[in-house]
Amino acid sequence: MRLIITYYGYMDGSGEYYIVVDSEKCNGCGECITQCPKQVLEITRTIVDLEEQLVAAVKEEHRKNIKYTCSACKPEKATPPCVSACGRKAITCIWKPKVP
């Protein structure tokens, strides 16, 4: 089992927003990268059980900016392009606005 789920995002007064990558499903194909309008994603090399694996990740410089960078793609009306790009359903998007 190499289940690693990574949540990139934030939680604040407006609600919570996460881009979630499931490394068990991701095969590092990079299709999501080509579909992201803001070039937020990249393929990184990680070591799982001492074996190298390629997996999609949010770039280091974007990790604290998701609120702004990814706001246009919030899953309110349409599915975000990174999510629909992945045939393996490795990327999901969580957006839970805070109800006042």
Binding site: D12, T46, I47, L50, R63
Partner: protein
């Protein structure tokens, strides 16, 4: 140093060697270097046992900090950099660790390190670093299962505490204890930004709040944020806190109260080197051992 010029934010940098672990002849010597946004940590291990640990402030250059903290860890060990078989770099500045044979994300290293420090019962790790908070779920072997990284900015982290220490003129090591000296928990500060939190804290002081009360309000806000993060990944026993804020009793106590769950207390790291703040470096050194053994066995099998 006069009261005027005292640097309240300055936390203790240290270096510790455990003499009884001294390497002899054929041991595997590995090291982990964790360059964080605020502090740099290095750990040297002999056959997977912590031999030397050093923690210092990260300077303006990640690679210089990595070199310095590694040199410090080597001090008094009689070892040279070339005696170390394998070095793994990790942390925010991991790409800038010049002597590393490999780099790994700090998430994997923290989980591994926490598993080593506290044992196989650890399931949830909250790493409160200099500029961000991370929640990690792991299995009994210290393998990462889920990982959540938050946040937009640095409030509620080590750097925020440094700013507050300076503002309130309280030595940073005393802040946690002091924040618990309130009769009643005040409302948490509302700001999630260091710059604004500073302004907010000043406003509260002007309104006549005691320093203890301001600290309590600030730490309560931090603990609430941590709680929210843990809820998202699902907080399972045993819970541990790593990173610089593992030293902050004011945060730990509040977090435990809110979660209704105790954290595992840190071991006697002043004696055995198992410092929760160095969990990332310790984990990296453990990975270094596994990776070294793997390369060696591959080399051997190729003949």
């Amino acid at each position: 140093m006069s009261e005027e010029n005292r640097q309240y934010w300055r936390w203790r940098e240290y270096h510790l060697v455990i003499p009884e672990r001294k390497p002899k002849g054929s041991n595997i010597i590995t090291a982990g270097v964790d360059v964080g946004s605020v502090s740099s940590k290095a750990a040297i291990m002999v056959d997977g046992q912590v031999y030397s640990v050093s923690i210092m402030r990260t300077g303006s250059s990640s690679s210089d900090s990595a070199k310095k903290v590694m040199e410090w860890a080597l001090e008094g060990t009689g070892l040279k950099l070339s005696d170390i078989h394998y070095i793994v770099g990790t942390g925010y500045g991991r790409v800038n660790v010049p002597m590393a044979h490999n780099t790994l994300t700090e998430i994997a290293c923290h989980a591994k390190g926490a598993n080593y420090i506290w044992g196989p019962t650890v399931r949830t790790i909250l790493d409160v670093g200099g500029q961000d908070i991370k929640a990690i779920k792991c299995d009994e072997k210290g393998k990462v299962l889920a990982f959540l990284m938050n946040d937009k900015c640095a409030a509620g982290t080590g750097r925020g505490m440094e700013v507050l220490a300076d503002l309130l003129k309280i030595p940073i090591e005393d802040m946690g204890e002091m924040s618990l000296k309130v009769d009643e928990e005040p409302d948490p500060v509302s700001c999630t930004c260091v710059a604004f939190a500073r302004t907010e804290a000043m406003g509260l002081l002007r309104r006549g709040w005691s320093r203890e009360k301001v600290l309590a309000a600030y730490m309560r806000a931090m603990a609430i944020r941590m709680c929210n993060l843990l809820e998202r990944v699902g907080c399972e026993r045993d819970l541990v806190v790593t990173g610089g804020q593992s030293r902050n009793i004011g945060i730990i106590k509040r977090l435990e109260r809110m979660l209704g769950m105790n954290t595992l207390p840190p071991p006697k790291w002043e004696e055995n080197g198992l410092d929760p703040m160095a969990a990332g470096a310790i984990g990296a050194a453990l990975f270094a051992k596994s990776l070294y053994e793997k390369t060696k066995s591959q080399h051997n099998s190729r003949g």
